[in-house]
């Protein structure tokens, strides 16, 4: 693809149509509300009551399931916070593990087999079974019980620990983070591996020929090209994590799905509750894909294509 074509592609993406203006406005409302709710729940703002909607459903004349869902919005917003937290932390921590895993897989001698076994075992078994193994099998949450007093936020700024509550409150959340990080590391390692393999091997030869060591060549020449190739796969992984973070409900983490499920199983307002929940997931997923599309355009280099990952 020529440089001119690349530029044109970027420009078309940025030329905003009416449709995408509407989408941006909706996105602003969606995230504005969530942010406001989080601030109220942490008592960072001098108005609003934690856990109580800004306006009561009765005032708006709502009844039945709609009223229940409206009344539950503060709880759902708090659940959404944990969903976002799990997603963001796991994908970043997973990436930190995935880069060495994939490099070992491609360039390693015996570490190649270690990396291969790890990714195959993780990718060959269900994520939920992995969470069960950590939570029920290894009883891992016990290990974090002390961290209610010992979380990193607690040590630095005690105020944060209270307000950014979840890390402090729920030991199971730590287990979930470990589970999702391990799982995501395996999938991300696969994306990065296939991206490394799609970089021309001559690039490393050229790097060696100007006097770089193997390690420097991988670090400064191969990986920067690789990570651009890996972006579409990475987007898929992000979407995957957003949706599959709901599995944390099985190990009692009070994320978005669990909050809704708790209300719905009491009131039997499944339709209203899960419609709202579905919309929240759709909102987060669409935001993530749009942002990643933007990132992809920003870091695009002329002449470097992309590989597709799992969707």
């Amino acid at each position: 693809m020529s440089y001119a074509e690349d530029l044109r592609r970027v420009r078309t993406r940025e030329g905003r149509s009416v449709g995408s203006m509407v989408l941006i406005a909706l996105g602003g409302l969606f995230w504005g509300y969530l942010l406001l709710r989080w601030l109220i729940n942490w008592e960072w703002v001098p108005f609003g009551t934690p856990g109580e909607p800004l306006v009561s459903p009765e005032t708006l004349g709502l009844t039945g399931g709609t009223a229940t869902a409206f009344q539950s919005l503060p709880q759902l917003a708090e659940g959404a916070y944990i969903t976002v937290l799990i997603t963001v932390l796991s994908i970043l921590l997973g990436l930190v593990l995935a880069v060495p895993l994939s490099v070992a897989r491609v360039y390693g001698r015996w570490t190649k087999y270690l990396s291969l076994s790890f990714t195959e075992l993780i990718r060959g078994t269900p994520l939920i079974a992995q969470l069960y193994l950590l939570y029920y099998g290894l009883n891992l949450s016990q290990f974090f019980r002390g961290l209610t007093q010992f979380g990193p936020f607690t040590v630095r700024t005690p105020v944060w620990a209270v307000d950014l509550g979840p890390l402090k409150v729920q030991t199971a959340l730590w287990v979930a983070l470990i589970g999702f990080t391990i799982n995501s590391a395996a999938y991300q390692a696969e994306y990065i591996r296939s991206a490394i393999e799609s970089v021309d091997p001559q690039q490393l030869v050229a790097a060696r020929s100007v006097g770089l060591t193997q390690r420097e060549g991988i670090l400064h020449v191969v990986l920067p090209q690789t990570l651009r190739f890996a972006i579409p796969g990475w987007t898929n992984e992000l979407v995957y994590l957003i949706k599959y973070s709901s599995l944390a409900t099985f190990i009692t983490v009070a994320e978005l799905f669990r909050r809704a499920d708790a209300v719905a199983s009491d009131t039997f307002d499944y339709t209203a509750m899960f419609t709202v929940v579905a919309l929240v997931y759709i909102g987060i997923v669409i935001t993530a894909t749009r942002l990643m599309g933007y990132v992809e355009d920003r870091v695009a280099l002329p002449g470097l294509g992309q590989t597709r990952g799992r969707s």
Partner: protein, 247 residues
């Protein structure tokens, strides 16, 4: 705020260390797993059935949807695309709940789970087929039309057979995803592998053997995914025809 270190050490012994030492040093209770092999085998059958029926349902939804996304007029294409985008953005857990409690497609958790997994797989399979169809190339359609076939005939006899072969790698991926995600049907109480393992360690008050049970069923999943992958790779070679791009 005071930093207490002691509570960290204490659960360490009761938790991870205890479980690990019992498992590695003392005697892991494989006997309990073995004595329940029939239940695990039955559960394996349920998992395989759930996977198979869901994949077939997904195929029946996904192939026409994929064709529609490429060839259908806007009044049909836009709704198909929209449903696809929504289904792919929502967790399978929510879709399962929707099928059972909101749409109430069936009072049987197994059937409701099939609908959920099938619909979701259909939404992904449509993308696999759409991509494969788009990779077939305009020339094939033109050649078929030029011998007098209708558009539908050209799709059925020329485009679809070629795209099916091209979609085998994506299909392989989709198959293992569905297989693994059958475990999420545990939310509706389907007694597939994970649900059975949970019953065995929770309801029978044998929490001590959770590790052994989960490892055992994980092994079954692993064997199933590896066999499926190899099987579909074989199918790909078997049905594959030499394809030069310019022919």
């Amino acid at each position: 705020m005071a930093v207490e270190l002691t509570p960290v050490a204490a659960p360490l012994q009761g938790g991870l260390v205890d479980a690990a030492s019992r498992f590695f040093l003392d005697n892991p209770d494989w006997g309990y797993v073995w004595s329940n092999r029939d239940a695990i085998l039955d559960a394996t059958v349920v998992t395989v059935q759930l996977t198979f029926v869901s994949i077939v349902l997904g195929f029946l939804i996904g192939l026409p949807a994929g064709v529609a996304e490429v060839y259908a007029p806007a009044w049909l294409r836009v709704p198909v695309e929209t449903v696809g985008v929504v289904v792919r953005a929502v967790p399978i857990l929510v879709i399962l709940i929707y099928m059972f409690y909101v749409f109430s497609v069936s009072s049987s958790p197994f059937i409701a789970a099939t609908f959920a997994l099938g619909l979701r797989s259909g939404a992904y399979q449509s993308q696999i087929f759409r991509g494969a169809i788009q990779s077939v190339g305009e020339g094939q359609m033109e050649a078929a039309r030029s011998v007098g076939m209708s558009k539908l005939e050209a799709i059925v006899y020329v485009i679809v057979p070629q795209s099916l072969r091209r979609s085998i790698p994506g299909f392989q991926n989709e198959f293992t995803i569905v297989l693994k995600d059958t475990s999420i049907a545990i939310i509706l109480g389907v007694t597939e592998l994970l649900g059975t393992a949970e019953d065995l360690f929770l309801q029978q008050n044998r929490t001590g053997t959770a590790l052994e049970l989960i490892l055992a069923i994980s092994l079954v999943y692993f064997v199933l995914t590896v066999t499926t992958n190899r099987g579909l790779e074989f199918a790909g070679d078997y049905f594959g025809v030499p394809t030069g791009e310019n022919a």
